[in-house]
């Protein structure tokens, strides 16, 4: 018997029992649809997070005062880093392309009759480049203006919207905690993360911030940009070494600063999101498994029901292999059908989730192939036992079966 004839026979038997076929396939449909939609949601979340995080630059090393006890807990003195340290790093570390010290604090802004509360960030001249801020209008301040602690500022797009409502702010003067600042530039919007809007801040020279606004002489962090992402570890070690020397820290004593990089953050976020994806995919895979058991169940019923048919086929010369193939093709067809419908349903679900939930979803070809291959494999795996049972029936007994 040619495979094509077996295929036609299997198809006919499935068409004869439409409802049964559909209900059997339903397990696979739900399984595949959930695998695809779950993975697309997980993958979407991962990509969204990674892309927003990488907007802040992935080759940045951050030096902060105090000691980091765990990822989120810092202890120790907060005033151990100074602008001097930033300059010292810039002069003594190789393989870097920029250093920017920062101080930041929330402050009240005022322009004409409009008020807003925002983060005021005092930075070095290279901060815009390091933090991936592009200029929309005007320019960022330069080293000379930092040295002379000029009262000038660059506005983030959210602040621009709140204070100026789309009017050109260049050359205008705003009040920061009551002190006049000249607006010299605005930045291109980066887009907000759910917990943090990088556009809701203004940038002023770090020296101005220290002396004229916040009244402090330390800095809150120093960002260092590595030329090559591969050099991050070496640079981190170098920074630690020279800062320990500069701060006169005796051997065996703890650092009064700590060094971290954003790619660590990125990796741990990526890992977390990946785990999330695997978890969702795993749950979905279990439902696919249950669907497979459903196929096996129905195929066993079908074999019993068709014992006589199997007997007839064997009597007129069907070989064991041909009976096995016939039933295997049936179960694979069911899972194939279920897989196909499940893929469409899964894509539909992830579309709906991304439309309604304002949540990016990514249906990858990989997940479709995975789900489809898995469902066909389940058809073969769970179809084999019933098909084998059919193939091994004794023709005499099968013919006698009522």
């Amino acid at each position: 018997m040619l495979i094509w004839d077996l295929f036609k026979m299997a198809l006919r038997s499935l068409v004869t029992h439409k409802l049964r076929t559909f209900l059997t396939a339903l397990g696979i449909i739900i399984g595949v649809a959930s695998v695809i939609s779950m993975i697309s949601i997980g993958e979407g979340a991962r990509r969204q997070t990674l892309s927003t995080i990488s907007k802040f630059g992935t080759n940045i090393i951050t030096v902060k005062p105090g000691q980091q006890k765990s990822r989120h807990v810092t202890t120790g003195k907060v005033d151990t880093l100074t602008l001097d340290d930033a300059d010292f790093i810039e002069e003594n570390i190789s393989l870097i392309t920029g250093v920017a010290a920062q101080v930041y604090r929330s402050a009240q802004l005022k322009f004409e009759n409009k008020n807003t509360n925002t983060t005021v960030r005092g930075t070095g001249a290279s901060y815009a480049r390091l933090a991936n801020f592009e200029m929309d209008r005007g320019r960022y301040f330069n080293k000379e203006e930092i040295r002379s602690a000029k009262r000038i500022c660059v506005l983030g797009s959210t602040v621009l919207k709140n204070l100026f409502e789309g009017r050109n702010p260049l050359g205008k003067t705003i009040k920061v905690d009551g002190k006049n600042f000249l607006v010299i530039g605005t930045t291109v919007p980066k887009g907000a993360l759910s917990w943090f809007d990088p556009d809701d801040q203004i940038f002023i020279p770090v020296t101005t911030a220290q002396k004229r606004v916040f009244g402090m002489d330390h800095v809150q962090s120093i960002d260092v940009q590595a030329d090559q992402i591969d050099d991050l570890e070496i640079i981190k070690e170098d920074i630690s070494r020279i800062l320990r020397q500069k701060h006169n820290i005796a051997e065996g004593k703890e650092d009064d600063f700590y060094v971290q990089n954003s790619s660590q953050w990125l990796n741990s976020w990526g890992d977390a999101a990946k785990t999330f994806t695997y978890l969702l995919g795993g749950i979905a895979a279990i439902s696919l498994m249950v669907g497979g058991i459903g196929i096996m169940n129905i195929m066993l019923v079908s074999v019993t029901e068709r014992t006589r048919e199997i007997g007839i086929r064997k009597a007129i010369g069907a070989k064991k292999k041909e009976i096995l193939q016939q039933f295997l093709i049936e179960s694979v067809l069911i899972s194939f059908l279920g897989g196909g419908i499940g893929i469409l349903l899964g894509i539909g679900i992830s579309r709906i989730v991304s439309d309604l939930g304002d949540w990016e979803t990514v249906v990858s070809t990989q997940s479709i192939l995975l789900a489809f291959g898995f469902s066909v494999a389940i058809g073969v795996f769970f179809g084999f036992y019933p098909a084998n049972k059919a193939a091994n029936l004794n023709p005499i007994e099968a013919l006698r079966y009522e």
Binding site: M1, L2, D5, R12, S13, T16, R308, E309, G311, I312, R313, K314, A315, I316, G317, A318, K319, K320, K321, E322, P395, I396, L399
Partner: protein, 227 residues
Amino acid sequence: MIEVENLSKIYQMGGQQVAALAGVDFKIEKGEFVAIMGPSGSGKSTLMNLIGCLDLPSSGTYRLEGLDIQDLKPNQLAEVRNRRIGFVFQSFNLLPRATALENTELPLLYGRVPKSTEIALQALERVGLAHRAKHKPTELSGGERQRVAIARALVNSPAIILADEPTGNLDSATGKEIMDLFQELNEEAVTLILVTHEQEVAQQARRIMQMKDGKIIADTSNGAGSC
């Protein structure tokens, strides 16, 4: 064509050995029309299963067209059933969802015979059912169903056609039609072996073998032959 020597079949039943067939010998030549008779339990079904290559003997030899059947593997037996044997059953045993033509074609498909549809149609024509080719068994009368079964048995030009109580489920008029068809086929040199417990049916054969307790107790040629 058929040579059976000391053929026996022993079943294990609850620790006891039961000889369903206790050593039979006979020969059947090409073109013969043989009826095997006997009460139930006489071993005629067992003999039929062995001749039909559905089962293997416990001992003895069975040679079909020079082929030693008792030495064959299951797949080879399936091939022998497919090419050399046609079955006609009491309860027709057609596939309910397939048309008459598809039922008739089935042995050709398993045998991978080319132009199977044409050959199947010719076989249906031979039993006078070409006009019902597209009908399903449920749309056919009992007599018509048995004709389809006979067409299916004929379609591979087998060495023998084995009929097990072919008229058992038919009324006497239809049963007679079927027996007439068998007569016609026999006249066209088809070898027929008929298993029955009805004297009337057996009388249509040219040779009658009587069985009892797993043995052939009489093997007589039936002069009348036809009706």
